[in-house]
Structures are given as C-alpha cells and as structure tokens.
Amino acid sequence: MSSSTLTDPKAPPPPSRFGNIKRAWLPEKVIHYGVWILAVLLILGPIVPIVWSSLWSTPLYEGGGSGTLDNFRKLATDPLWWSAVANSLQFAVFATIGSVLVGTTVALLVARTDLPLRRLYSALIVLPLVLPGLVLIVGWQSMWSKNGYATHLLEQYTPFTVPFDLYSVAGMVVMGTVLGSPVVYLFARGTLSSGDSTLEEAARCAGAGPFRALLTVTLPLLRPALLNSGLLVFALALETLGIPLILGTSKNIDMMSTYLYRQWTGSADGGGGVLPAGAVMLLLAVTMLLLLRNRLAGDLARFTTTGGKSSRPANVVKLGPFGWLLSAGVGVVLGCATLVPLSGVVLASLTAVLTPAINPFSLLTLDHFSAILTNPLYTGAIGNSLLIATVGAAIATACIAVIALVAHRSSFRLRGSLEHIVLYPRAVPGLITGMAFFWTFAILDQSGTFRATLWAVGIAFGVRALAMGYAAFYPSLAALGADLDRAARSAGADWWTAMRTIILSLLKPAMGISYVLLFVAMLNEADAAVFLVTPETQVLGLAMLQIAANGLGGTVAALGVIQLVITAAVLGAGRILFGVRPNV
C-alpha cells in the first residue's frame, strides 16, 4: 500500500523502527494464566490439606495412614464440641438479632429523621468496625464487667446497675451486638440513602403520615439489606475467636472457634484428627452461610450500596422536642458502647491499677508503656506487625489490582471464576486460614524454615484480607469506562501496557484506599496467626489476644492503645489522602 494515501501529506515518514511497538515483557496470555494459577494455589490450595487431613488417619506430614471418617466420629462423640456448637449458635443468633435491631434503628434515625447530633451518632456506630476489635473488647472488660470501673460508678452513684454479666453468653451477645451493628448499619444506611425515596413520597402523597410511610414503605425496602447483612453478621459471629476467648475463658464457656483453639494449644498432638474435622465443620457452616448470602444478594451488587452517599431524602420524620430526648438516649447508649470503653482502655494503660476504690488520676504512670517498650517480646511483635502490614499490604494491593484487571478488563477465558476465587477468603474463618497455611507449609516444607519466617504469617494475613481489599478496590474499577482501555488498545498498546499506563494510573487513589484498609487489617489481625506464629514471628494482634485471654492488665491496655494510635493515624491519613471510608 502506498503510504501517501494513509497519511496527512504533512506527516513525517514513519520512523525507521516502524513496527517495533513497545511491548510488555510478558505476553498477555502468560500474565492471565499466571495470575489465575497463582490465585487458585494461594487461595484455594491451602484448604486442601485441611479437608484431606480431616479424612486421614495420621497427620499428613508423617506419611502412611489411610482414609477414614474416624476423626468426624471422634468429634461427634465429644460432648465439649456439642456444647461449643450450642454456645456458638446461641451467641450467633442473638448477636445477629441485636445487631439488626440496633443497626436498623440507628440507620433509620440518621437517614430518615431530623434527630439532633445524627452525624455524630453515625460516626460513633461505625467506630467498632474501624477500630481494632480486640481493643474494644478489652475496653468493655475494663469498664462494664462486674468489677469494671464504670459498673462501680454506676452502682455507686445511680440506682441503676449493669443488667448482664460480660463474662457470660449474654454478655458476649452484647459485645457481639456492638461489633455487628455497624455492619448492619452500613448496609441499611446505604440502601436508605442510595435508594430513591419516590416510593415513600408516593405514600405520603397518598395521605400517609411520614411515620406511617416509614413503617409501611421504608422498612420493607430495607429487607434485602437486612437479610444480607444479617447473614454476614451471623457468619462473623460463628467464626469470631476474640470475643469467646477473652470473655469466655474465665468461665469455661467455649464456642466452636475456642474449641479448636484449645484443641491446638491444650493437647500434645495438637488435637490430632479432631482439629481438622472441627475446622471442616466450621468452614462448611460459614461457607454455606455466605453462599446463601450471595444467592440472595448477588456477589458484587452489595458493594455498590455500601458507599453511603448522603443526599437528604424528602421523607424526613420531624421529631420535634421529642427529638432531643431521643437523641440523649441514643447518645448515652452509643457512648457507653464505644467512647466509655475506649477511655477505659486509655485509663487502664495509664494507671497502675484501674479500680473504683482509688481515684485513677492519683495513680497515673507510664510503667505499662515502658514495660512494653523494653520487652523484646512485645517490641518484636509490634515490629513484625508493622513490617507485615507495610510490605504485605503493598503486595496484596498489587495482587488485588492485577486480579481485578484480569477478572474485569481482559478477554481471558477463565476470568469469570477469578472474582469468586478472590472473594472466597471471606467465607473462611481467620482461624482456619491460619490452620490451612500451617498444614500446607508443614507438608511442603518439612524443615520448617519457611514457616519460621515472617513471610509465612504475611502470606496468610494477605490472603485473609484479599476479599476486603478487593471489595474496596472494585467499585472504582467498575466506574472507569471500558472505552478508556479500548482506546489505548487501538492506539497500539498491548493488554498489559494499556492496563498499566491508563487504568492503573487512573486507579491510584483506589489502590491507596485498598492499601490503607489492608494495612489496618493486617496490623490488627490475630485469628489467622494462632497456628502460624513462632516465638520469633509473634504479631501484635495475637500477642494481645493471648494476654487478654489470661486476664486483664495494664499491659494489654497499653498494647491496645498502641494498636489504636497506629490504626487511627493510618486511617486518618488515608481519609485525608484518599477519602477512605468504613467498609464491610
């Protein structure tokens, strides 16, 4: 062909190296298959040894043995397991009910009434989701247990008393409600502020009062969000380790997660085959719940509704003077649930002993902090956690970005499965993620050298946090029109070059958000560390969990304050830099 017909007459002749277009150094196909295989190996692979060893008569790394159902039989005949299951179910059911009630009420008050101070309450109720959960539990211990500081003040100066014992299933339900309500709140709030309020307006035009419109139209609209978040809270309550370990240990109240924990720590053979069998049961339960939830909600649809836009809807219930009364009530409840325990942690960390008998301000001391900062065990744990969070969050963010690009911006054959794979860790309890990697490393690396490095812990933490980071990242990707990469492709960029120069460049803020959330999650992670840490690779979250399980002290509180300060600083920076928001 003659080039004069193609080109502007004034165009220079194509450069001598014409045709030698810049290419990514890996072909598109290699990247796609590589990412997919890596994702499968890292995310699904480690589950295999657990399932396998639950069906095997000897530990896998010992060789020999044969297939058997014995482990499950042993589990089924252990009365302790059944009482743990009963406790777990009881706890999960009531914590879910509590969370749905509280979360929905606050969401309605904030989004559909003129309640005074509603913005403050909106921030307060999501606080437990944003801050490390362990710190809040420790704070509740210090303030609201039978010997708690606030309990004493309450009993001394008012006719009221705390109507539950924190160290009982009922107390754990209250704690679970505190931690679960923000999840329900965010979902309900998302529906209320993104859903259009024309239906409610229609009801009002038809003569319904605002309150009636709320009950007859708004509440039914919330049903999908409540079902969805309720199932999530239920699953989280089933797998949680922190609450039953910290609050249940002193009274020997076990749940499924602590049963597994004690099998691991309490017996010489690490629980034998009962442990993987129990783990498989817990995994099945949580996976089923989340599958059910996906069926009901659609996998990704849920992420788009949790953004929390705040445009004022037309249907606002005017509370009048009654509003201030209600506001005071809400404020007292939310304050007692969050601010009081947090100040309890701070107070406990700064006083020799936190007791109602002595004015705490006469006992101020920095001893707990200096004890931590001079103890290599703790400084090591803090250093390890910071290292894992800094490096791990960066690697995990990069993985999430690439996985999301292959899943949504490529023509890769298996791309549809990738999203399910990356979201799967959500359905795996943290305890079991750790166990899975423990078994995997034990089989692949019999010498144990890799298992003794921080990488072992870091990989498990990264996989655990993957789904959460993905959920934060994906909406931004979905919001970028596909024409942007198509334009790059036809301009001469191969797949990876188009992704790198256009899409990833545009997604830097989203990666920032993802990084911040992953950083915080990995800094505070405890459950997944249970099976993995060695004395050299202790991490902050687990260190806290372990001391807290053995009783409260100024040391735990001080560790909690350190955790709190780092978390708050990182989230604050993230909010200023990237507009990070609380995310479920």
């Binding site: 080039s3 017909t5 450069p15 030698n20 334009a487 492709r489 301009a491």
Partner: protein, 367 residues
C-alpha cells in the same frame, strides 16, 4: 490500496446473534457509513474491525492484510491493526494532558522526543487545538475533547479511521460545523474511514457509501442518493428520511401491472411491479407531494387526493401539513402556504415506491 473488505461477519453474544453475515466494503480513501437504529450492531461491527471484539465468523481484510479470518483462525490483536478509533464517549484519558493523549500512540512506537513533539504539534494544528496542548481534558469543552480524540486517532497515521457516533454528544449547531470540518479533514488526509451513526442527515451528508443496518443485517448498500431515492425495502425507505407509508391492497394483476387500492382512496393506481403479496405499502416522500390549486392541471401526477388539513406547522424553509386520507394521514412538505381547511394533494408519477409490507419480525424503525 487499502480497501476494507468485510465478508460474512457474524457475532453472537451467548444465544443472541448481533451480527448476521454482514458484508460491506469501503474503498480506499472513502467514507463508509454504517447507519441504523440503536442496537442494530453498528458499534459491534466497528469494534470487530478494530479488533476489540472477536467475531464468530467471516473475515475482515484491509488491503492485502487479513485482520480477521474465522476459517483460518487469524486474529490480529487491536494494537497491531493501526486503526484510529474515536469512541462514542471520546475516551480521552483524564490523567494525561492533551499533548500526552495525542502523543501516546507515538510513544508506543518509539518516536524520538523531537519527532514526537513535532508530530503532536502538527496533528493538534490539524484539529485546531494548538493552544490547548497543555491543558487537561476536564478543562476542555465537549467539542474540544472530541477533537482531541480525533487527533489521537490520527497521530500515528492510521490505516483506517473508525468513528463511532462522534457527534452524538454535541449540540445541533456545533454538530453541523464539526461535520463539515471533519469531512474536509478526511478529504485532505484521504484515510479510509468507517463512520457509525444513527442520524440519517449525518449519514447522507458525510458518506461516499452508506450501509443501512437493522438487527444485525445489512439492508442496503449504496451511495447516499441511491439510498434516499431508491430504497431497497420498506425499512430503508422508512428509516432514511421520512416517508408517507400508505397501506394498500392488490385488487388486480395483469402483465406485471398491479392494480392497487389504497385504503381511504376512491381511485385505484396502476403500478408495474413484481411484488406477489396481496398487501402492499406505498411509500411517498413528503417533499415529493404537491398542493394543487383546484384548477391546476393534473398532468405528471399519478393521482390527486382531496382531504382535510389535520394540522399544519411552519419549519422555516417549508410548511408541513398533515392531510387526512381515509383512516391514514399524508404528510406534505412544501414551500407553499395555504389557509384552506381542505386541500388537493398531487402524487407525482415517479414520486412513490411500492414495497412488500413489513413482516412481523422486521424491526420498527426508530424515528
């Protein structure tokens, strides 16, 4: 030569056939327009040419190079096709300055910095954006962004220029100006161009050839005049320009002459035609119709129709009347002004065409 030859192109999304054996050709340096209602597969065709979609059948050849051939499993990825594409959404990259947007294809092709700068300046001048080179896209108007997209498509001299409804986001005035400007530019550069639009005026004004599409098939290919004056079927007649469609019944047939009774008319008309169905549709362009004074001669008219004026409107360069004909209405566009409530409309002898009626499955044209 870089003729674009598309043969039997087929594309399915799941069980939905979006392109069904589409065959079109664009001659070297010419503008081929794909015209059709929304959802008919225009963009799909364009993206198949650009390599952004992989069709399920057929072939695409430019000059002597095969871009796609289903039978020999040939598929050139988009980055090797050297197509300049302007997207419906412009897809100007928001994080790059105008200059970097335009220079992107050149950087990928390892232009030296001076050569790159020179070429970018040249292309920006070509699209009248020289003074905007260092601004970001969000600082530009819609029309300017559109020109950035065009400059980017032209920066590395493309083998084919592919335009997907490039004017759809512009207001009417700007749209007309840009259309003329683009036409001139294309003539100057002489690049083979495929242009997608659902706007018939745009298609008629810009094209060397038009392919009218509907639900994944090509209904007619021809020059703008052929398409307008001699539509191949009812769909084309209805979609391109406006047509009065009068339903009629064949009441007699002899020696290839049909006698047709139009519902609501007393006289029958006699038309040579090979249509074998009982029902027919007579299509008449509104501007072909004339308002006749009562005493005017009817020479040159196939027939005249008397009817009440249902409504009238003024459109600047013509009046538009709707005249009742039995149950149906006839739209007349003429420069003549009349105030009477009854008029006589003349249908000129060669001013109408006969079509087989729409089958149940044929799509309704979007007007």
């Amino acid at each position: 030569m870089s003729d674009l030859v598309i043969t039997n192109l087929t594309k399915k999304f799941g069980r939905l056939t979006v392109l069904d054996n589409v065959s079109v050709t664009a001659s070297d340096g010419q503008i081929l327009t794909l015209l059709g209602p929304s959802g008919c597969g225009k963009s799909t065709t364009l993206w198949s040419i650009a390599g952004l979609l992989k069709p399920d059948g057929g072939s695409i050849v430019v000059g002597d190079q095969t871009l796609f051939n289903h039978d020999s499993s040939a598929f050139l990825p988009p980055e090797r096709r050297d197509c300049g594409v302007v997207f419906q959404s412009y897809a100007v990259w928001p994080h790059m300055k105008v200059r970097d947007n335009v220079g992107y294809p050149l950087r990928l092709r390892r232009y030296k910095p001076e050569a790159l700068r020179k070429r970018v300046d040249e292309v920006l001048e070509l699209v009248d954006l020289s003074d905007q080179a260092d601004r970001y896209p969000h600082q530009l108007s819609g029309g300017q962004q559109q020109r950035v997209a065009l400059a980017r498509a032209l920066a590395f001299p493309p083998r084919l220029l592919l335009l997907d409804e490039p004017f759809s986001n512009l207001d009417a005035k700007l749209r007309e100006r840009t259309r003329d400007w683009l036409l001139q530019l294309q003539r100057k550069i002489g690049v083979t161009t495929v242009f997608v639009t659902h706007d018939q005026d745009e298609a008629l004004a810009m094209s060397d050839r038009i392919a009218v599409m509907s639900t994944g098939t090509v209904r007619q290919i021809g020059t703008p005049e052929q398409i307008y004056n001699d539509p191949a079927d009812l769909f084309v007649a209805d979609f391109v320009g406006t047509s009065n469609l009068l339903e009629g019944t064949v009441i007699g047939r002899s020696n290839g002459i049909l006698t047709i009774k139009i519902d609501g008319l007393d006289q029958a008309i006699h038309v040579p035609s090979s249509i074998d169905s009982d029902g027919v549709v007579v299509a008449v362009r509104p501007e072909a119709l004339a308002l006749l004074p009562d005493d005017a001669s009817t020479d040159g008219y196939e027939m005249t129709v008397n009817g009440p004026v249902l409504d009238r409107s003024y459109h600047g360069h013509h009046f538009r009347y709707r005249v009742g004909v039995g149950e149906q209405a006839l739209v007349v566009e003429t420069r003549e002004r009349t105030d009477s409530s009854h008029v006589r409309v003349g249908i000129p002898r060669d001013g109408y065409k006969l079509f087989r009626p729409r089958t149940a499955t044929a799509p309704k044209a979007a007007q």
